[in-house]
Structure formats: C-alpha cells, structure tokens
Amino acid sequence: MSFGFELAISILLVIGGIFIFVGSFGLLRLPDFYTRLHAPTKATTVGLGSILLCSMLTAYATEGRFSISELLITLFLVITAPVVAHMLAKVAMHHKVRMFAKTKHTELVDTARMQQPPASDSSSKLDS
C-alpha cells in the first residue's frame, strides 16, 4: 500500500483513539451524572466510527477484499447510543441523582420525573 494511504489510515486511527480516550476521560472527570452522560455517548460513538472506517480501508488495502460489513456496527451504534442515553437519563431522574451545584433550572427535574409539563412560571419564561 502506498505511503500516503498508510499515513491517512494511521491519522484516522489515531484520531479515533483520541476521541475514545476523551470520552472515557470525561466519564471519569466531569462533576455529575448528567454531564458525564454527554462524554461517552458522543465522543465514543464517533471515535468508534472512525476506527471502523480504518478497519474497512485496511482490509481493502492489504487483502483487496472490500469489507463493507463494518458499516453495520456503525449504523447499529448510531441508532442505539441515543436510546441508552435516554434510558439512563430517565433512571437518573427517578433516582434523584445529585446535581452539579451550578446547574440551571433544576426545578424542571421535578416535573420531568412525573412526565408532566413544566410548572407555569418556568414555561411562561421559556415560551415568551
């Protein structure tokens, strides 16, 4: 395989690895559950997508077989990652997980737990 192609694959692979690392680092570092939820669902999905793309290109370059089946994992993860995030946010609301002190509009969680619309004062503030 040519040098430029190998360089491109290597860079893409390293970028994917770094995104996954940032996602896991965010999981360890951020202050409360709701902010932690953001890091893995986004960074890890894109990092894995980039590594899957690399895997496809390497299979094509080294063996000449066009392996498109990696797309299936990417598609599956893009569909399922938001579902897991949504379910976990629901669980956290029902358990009244502790929130970061600076969080704005914490009163919305109380109505969200009951699946009710926001109380009139805050909704009028947001709708106006």
Partner: protein, 163 residues
C-alpha cells in the same frame, strides 16, 4: 401486492442488512435475503404499531449530512469542554416545546438532539408537548438554543414526514 409486501421499505432494509452481515453479493445470498425480507414483515405484521409514512424520503439525505457535520463539530466542542477547566462548564435543563405529534418523528428528533452539540434529551412529557433536554454548556440566551433546534432539526424532520 400489499399482502406480499406489507412494508416494502423493511423488505429492502432487511435484504441490505443480510447482505452486509454476510459481506457478499452472490446470487444465493441475495435470494436468501429477499426471502427473509419478505417473510419477516409478514410474520411481524400483527405486532406493528401504525406510524406516519415518510412523505419525502429524499429529504433524508441532506438531513443526514447536516447531522453528520453537526456531530463532528459537537465532538470537537465536547472534547474541548471535557479537557478544559471544570469551572467553565455551565450545565442546565430546558423544556423544549414540541410541535411534532407522532412517535416516530419525536424519536428521530430526540435521537438527533442526543447526538448533536452538548445536548441530551432526557424525558418526554405524557402529553408529548415538551421534551426535557439537558445542556452541557448552557448559552446565556436559552431561547436561541430552542430556536436553533426548531429551525435546524425539527423543521427538517417535519418536512421529511410531511406534517
């Protein structure tokens, strides 16, 4: 026709997934995939919950491209926030007033919101009027965020489903 193909889109999707799974385009796999794609929707027909039809399937392509671009930008933004000082993070909740009514469009919108810049959909109210969203980096002006979602995502989803 509708008895053999209750859901033509699902038939195509199942065949494509079967071919991807086996990573081959041979005639045998195409035939087997088509048989599975025809039989599975017929067997699953009684389980189906009626959903609105996709009115303009070609509008999905620009939507996917816009979301893909936003996902990449979102990741760089989230990475900067995660690696930067914790003091700079300003999380918050907002209630987003929905104008969509059906389940499938709301699911598509909620998934898109979760995948894009610093927002994560948390809970839907019982009457499907509000979507609670957790925002990682709350801007000073909350209305601008609601307007951004309304114009960029909800408007396009509405166009796709034609409602």
């Amino acid at each position: 026709m509708t008895r053999i193909f209750p859901q033509p889109f699902h038939t195509l999707l199942l065949t494509a997934v079967w071919l991807l799974l086996n990573n081959s385009m041979s005639l045998g796999h195409i035939l087997l995939g088509l048989i599975l794609g025809i039989v599975i929707p017929i067997v699953c027909q009684p389980l189906r919950i009626p959903q609105p039809k996709i009115a303009k399937p070609f509008k999905l392509i620009p939507y996917v491209l816009v979301v893909l671009k936003d996902v990449i930008i979102a990741n760089i933004e989230v990475a900067i926030l995660v690696l930067g000082p914790v003091k700079r993070i300003q999380p918050g909740f907002i209630a987003y007033p929905l104008t969509l009514k059906d389940d499938l469009p709301i699911t598509l919108l909620a998934s898109t919101i979760t995948m894009t810049p610093g927002t994560c959909s948390c809970e839907l109210t019982e009457d499907k009027q509000f979507l609670y969203i957790h925002v990682l980096d709350m801007p000073a002006d909350e209305q601008s965020l609601i307007d951004y979602i309304k114009v960029h995502y909800e408007g396009r989803v509405k166009e796709i489903f034609g409602c």
